[in-house]
Point group: C2
Chain length 122, copies 2
């Protein structure tokens, strides 16, 4: 494979905003408040004027049980964010200051929280 | 910054499915057929049973003019896909066989196709 190119976005954040039915066994990020937190993250990132940063919505990232989840690429670091304070910590600690927020990180080797991480559904 | 962890997904693909109003100057990926292509990509990835691959929808990736766009992380390689043949080429060439599809790649240094790549809106 050829070398990776310079990234188009220095930091590209995807916030799961998937909503499952209220009684779904896995729950969903939207049912846990992800839409409000995504909105706050976008507004706050704009205020901070972080260079080369893009905050996006995403469909189901399939880690519903530990949501609301976000993943920060290209580093591939996953977080659970439950409050605007968590969003601030991710934006200011990790993205602005380059210090991933250990307390909010999901373990990437904890595959058991996803039904099947190889499946390709939304 | 601490070393990057092993990725939760080996290959994480985000397909822009944003739709702008029909008369918007920039157009949009959905107006150019991205929803159908995203559906096809998800189904085809499942058929191919590619290990550790996740296909997701995303909000506006802000490269509307060159859409339908997809970005493949953690490599950070961007593509324009216009047909199911393009999707097959990305899934089979890049993701299964490890050979990025040069003919479909967007140049990451072509910043001029985005209004402002640092902005944090959807």
């Amino acid at each position: 494979m050829s070398p990776d190119p310079d990234p188009f976005y220095r930091v590209h954040v995807f916030c799961c905003t998937n909503r499952r039915p209220e009684n779904h066994a896995r729950g969903s990020c939207a049912a846990r408040g992800s839409v409000r937190l995504r909105d706050y993250m976008k507004a706050r990132a704009k205020e901070l004027a972080l260079p080369g940063v893009r905050i996006n919505s995403a469909g189901c990232l399939d880690r519903c049980e530990v949501g609301p989840t976000v993943v920060v690429y290209p580093a591939g670091i996953w977080y659970r964010m439950e409050s605007t304070e968590d969003v601030d910590a991710i934006l200011e600690g990790h993205i602005r200051d380059g210090r991933p927020v250990t307390a909010l990180m999901l373990k990437n080797d904890a595959k058991d929280d996803a039904k099947d991480n190889a499946k390709a559904n939304e």
